[in-house]
């Protein structure tokens, strides 16, 4: 029994270990009072959370929003995403495509809600952020202050490491600053979020270029994270590319624009490519006063990697898009570009990425006139300086890393973000940051580096349990009118207001299991928790405060009983319950309750019945002891359970 504990078992009791443990054992948690979730059937996460590369606990923060607890929502987001304001604006939000409401109407505006809570913080002033306690003597160097770098810095500093970010440019933010135009991502937002991370105790060295990794190790850094991004545009590789002036790499173009230069690149612009950079470039060009902006993309709109919304906005602003066309040759005159010959394409079989491969249609060439061509086909990292550090480089000029651990071929050197994957999304970069931080931590502590595999989406069907019959239209954030956008780099999309945010968050079907917030354990000081199996039959449990809940021993003791390895476990508050069928309304419970938590109420037939107010009940169980019929009982302390305990003792 309790007195024969083995000292060796885990006693950390920290949230994550509890959850890890529970997950491992196939145990899930339900806390009806706080999250009115469904009983948990299997261990799954909601599909949105699974879809999120960073694993943001979306349902949880949506739940917090519905309760109007925006601060808590922010905390939940920040647990996994240190850049909510940024993500709330530029995230490609794969979560929304997985949203189960999307299966019958518009998905939730998760991204907009995230932005809302981030902006809420900005507007109302963030809580004073205290620097994290330094608990570990090791230092980590992070090269690059883009989202990947910032995320890993954030995680590592919270773990107690000393973290230094080296940034080549004078401002931190990487591609966030240089690549994304301010009308989508205002600079103050980026700054604020970086500031928040810095406040945690991260050292940020701008204007510092890192050339030699070994130097960093010499300076005492135990690990290095290369998050240098992909800032070098790829060549078009068509005839004429190098002959004429007026062919610009869009990254360079955007960097200039984003730095505040407002020079018009030309009048008629062609942007080649279909990604967000292409759209950003095109829309920026319009804002710079270019009269005509074309986008040439070799596949159809369906395959276009840019955000659907962005494409729509671009079209609305006047960008013309030529689908199914690919450049063949640059045409110029007098060293100046005058146009581009394209060929029409058709879509063939899908390729590895699942998109249908474009095939040129013979003799379908046509010419588009232009004076500037912005190439936005892809980028790669500036990697040359690391080539001789003993780090392996792929044939695409990216770092070669272990996919799971992100460690490069050089021990202690990790790499992530665009520098590994090539140009990708902010949220992927954040995810890489997390992974890197986790791996670095384990590397420094000398633990094996492997990380658990990412969970799969188990439930994809709309089950009646999760289907809310009430339909509600997705709220669209307001935008500034198109006519005002010309020559303005002001932010286009506006934040939701509070009412809107709550209304939108309420559309959440709360699918999947509980919010997994373990808020219950953290918040509840008044009550204690016990864990019981489904019907409370196979008893287990814990009577004690969450901190000394010693879940692991107790649960494992229980779980090892009779092969019950994957028992379903709930966390329930200890309160009195009254069975209506058994209660004869004698009122004895009422008379002994010191808290007036149990009251005898009159029924239609004039006779009475006891009723417990669970919110007031403190769980002393005195009512149960005076109840003559056994109608009143304390959860987890039922007479039957105690009798069983006794019988077990006497064998």
């Amino acid at each position: 029994m309790a007195s024969k504990k083995s000292k060796s078992s885990k006693t950390t009791g920290s949230d994550s270990s509890i959850q890890d443990f529970l997950n491992e054992k196939g145990v899930t948690i339900q806390f009806p009072e706080i999250c009115d979730s469904f009983p948990i059937q299997e261990i799954t996460m909601s599909s949105c959370r699974v879809a999120c590369p960073a694993g943001v606990n979306i349902k949880a923060y949506l739940g917090a929003i519905t309760r109007g607890d925006f601060q808590r929502a922010l905390e939940i987001v920040k647990e996994t995403n240190p850049l909510p304001g940024i993500c709330g604006r530029v995230c490609t939000h794969p979560c929304e495509s997985e949203c189960r409401r999307g299966e019958f109407e518009d998905p939730l505006a998760i991204c907009a809600l995230k932005r809302f809570i981030a902006d809420y913080e900005l507007k109302n002033g963030s809580k004073n952020i205290e620097p994290c306690k330094r608990t570990k003597k090791e230092n980590v160097a992070i090269v690059g202050s883009g989202p990947a770098g910032l995320t890993s810095a954030n995680d590592l500093v919270r773990m107690g490491y000393g973290v230094t970010i080296f940034e080549e440019l004078p401002v931190a933010g990487g591609m966030l600053i240089t690549g994304i135009p301010p009308y989508r991502l205002p600079r103050d937002i980026i700054q604020a979020e970086i500031d928040n991370i810095v406040k945690l105790g991260v050292e940020l060295k701008t204007n510092t270029k890192v050339d030699n990794i070994d130097d960093l190790f010499k300076q005492g850094y135990k690990a290095v994270f290369l998050a240098i991004g992909a800032h070098e545009g790829l060549k078009l590789k068509v005839p004429g590319e190098d002959e004429y002036e007026g062919i610009v790499d869009c990254i360079k173009f955007l960097r200039k624009v984003n730095r505040g230069e407002r020079d018009k690149p030309g009048e008629r612009i062609i942007v080649i490519g279909g990604g967000n950079s292409a759209i950003d470039s095109a829309r920026s060009a319009l804002r710079l006063g270019c009269s005509e902006v074309y986008i040439v993309y070799r596949r159809s709109r369906k395959e276009m990697p840019a955000n659907e919304d962005e494409i729509k906005e671009a079209e609305a602003e006047g960008v013309k898009i030529n689908y199914l066309a690919a450049p063949v040759r640059i045409i110029g005159k007098d060293d100046k570009v005058t146009g581009m010959e394209c060929t029409k394409m058709k879509l063939g079989e899908p390729d590895q990425s699942g998109r249908r491969r474009p095939i040129p249609i013979p003799s379908s060439e046509f010419v588009v006139e232009a004076d500037t061509i912005l190439s936005a086909i892809s980028q790669k990292p500036y990697i040359s300086c690391f080539k001789d550090c003993g780090i392996k480089i792929t044939k695409w000029d990216t770092f070669e890393v272990n996919e799971k651990t992100l460690m490069t071929s050089k021990p202690g050197v990790f790499a992530g973000g665009d520098a590994v994957t090539g140009p990708s999304t902010v949220i992927d970069a954040i995810a890489a940051g997390h992974r890197a931080a986790h791996a670095i931590d384990r590397y420094i502590c000398g633990k094996p580096l492997e990380k658990e595999k990412s969970p799969e989406i188990v439930q994809r069907e709309l089950t009646p349990d999760t289907f809310s019959p009430e339909r509600a239209t997705r709220l669209k954030a307001k935008k500034i009118p198109i006519e005002k956008r010309e020559d303005s780099f002001a932010e286009v999309e506006l934040t939701l207001n509070e009412d809107e945010a709550v209304r939108e968050a309420k559309r959440c079907l709360r699918c999947g299991p509980c919010v997994e917030c373990i808020h219950c354990i953290k918040e509840c000081e008044k009550r204690m928790f016990g864990i019981s199996t489904d019907k409370g039959k196979e008893l287990l449990m814990v009577h004690g405060l969450p901190k000394n809940i010693k879940l692991t021993e107790e649960v494992s003791a229980m779980l090892n009983v009779k092969g019950k390895v994957a028992a379903e476990v709930r966390i329930e508050p200890i309160v009195s319950e009254v069975s209506e069928e058994m209660c004869r309304g004698c009122g004895q419970c009422e008379s002994v309750c010191n808290y007036s938590a149990i009251k005898v109420e009159e029924k239609e037939d004039g006779l009475r019945i006891a009723h417990v107010d669970a919110a007031i009940c403190k769980g002393c169980g005195t009512c149960a002891s005076v109840c003559p019929t056994g109608a009143s009982h304390l959860s987890l302390f039922k007479s039957k359970d105690i009798e069983k305990e006794l019988e077990g003792f006497f064998g």
Binding site: M1, I574, N594, G621, T622, S625, L634, I642, E645
Partner: protein, 147 residues
């Protein structure tokens, strides 16, 4: 028999004072007597006649009820209630033919694990002198099938 006799004791303990006391006692002292079943209750007020009788029925040689000190009760009046219940119980188990010493009520604060340990050891000593519960002998052969 008497020499090797290790009494089986059931102790009903309040969660707030005596359960931590028990925990502490268990942790601090390996000498804590074996064959004691600590039944944790949320409050001394939860103790019922039925639990105590049940323990005797199953063959307990002694039953100990440990609550907070009356003035310290976490739930205001629980410890006081336990006194009333125990008074009634005493009368009944006396009538049923158990020696009065087999049942005891003790009160402890959450720091008094030494006191608790002492009380328990004393209680065990008393019971050792008395010998096994009168119903124990035949219980042993029949309890398993009767329930």
């Amino acid at each position: 028999m008497a020499k090797n006799f290790i009494p089986k004791i059931v102790a009903f303990c309040c969660n707030w004072s005596t359960a931590p006391v028990v925990n502490k006692a268990v942790e601090s002292d390996a000498q804590f007597p074996p064959n004691i079943k600590i039944v944790k209750l949320m409050c001394g007020g939860m103790v019922t006649l039925a639990f105590i009788l049940k323990a005797f029925e199953l063959g307990a040689d002694g039953v100990f009820v440990a609550t907070c000190r009356v003035e310290d009760c976490h739930y205001v009046t629980g410890a006081r209630r336990a006194v009333d219940v125990c008074d009634n119980t005493k009368k009944l188990i006396d009538m049923l033919g158990f020696e009065p010493g087999r049942f005891k009520l003790g009160r402890f604060s959450s720091l008094e694990h030494k006191v608790f340990e002492k009380a328990i050891n004393e209680f065990i000593g008393v019971i050792k002198k008395m010998g096994p519960s009168p119903i124990k002998v035949q219980r042993r052969t029949t309890a398993s099938t009767s329930r």
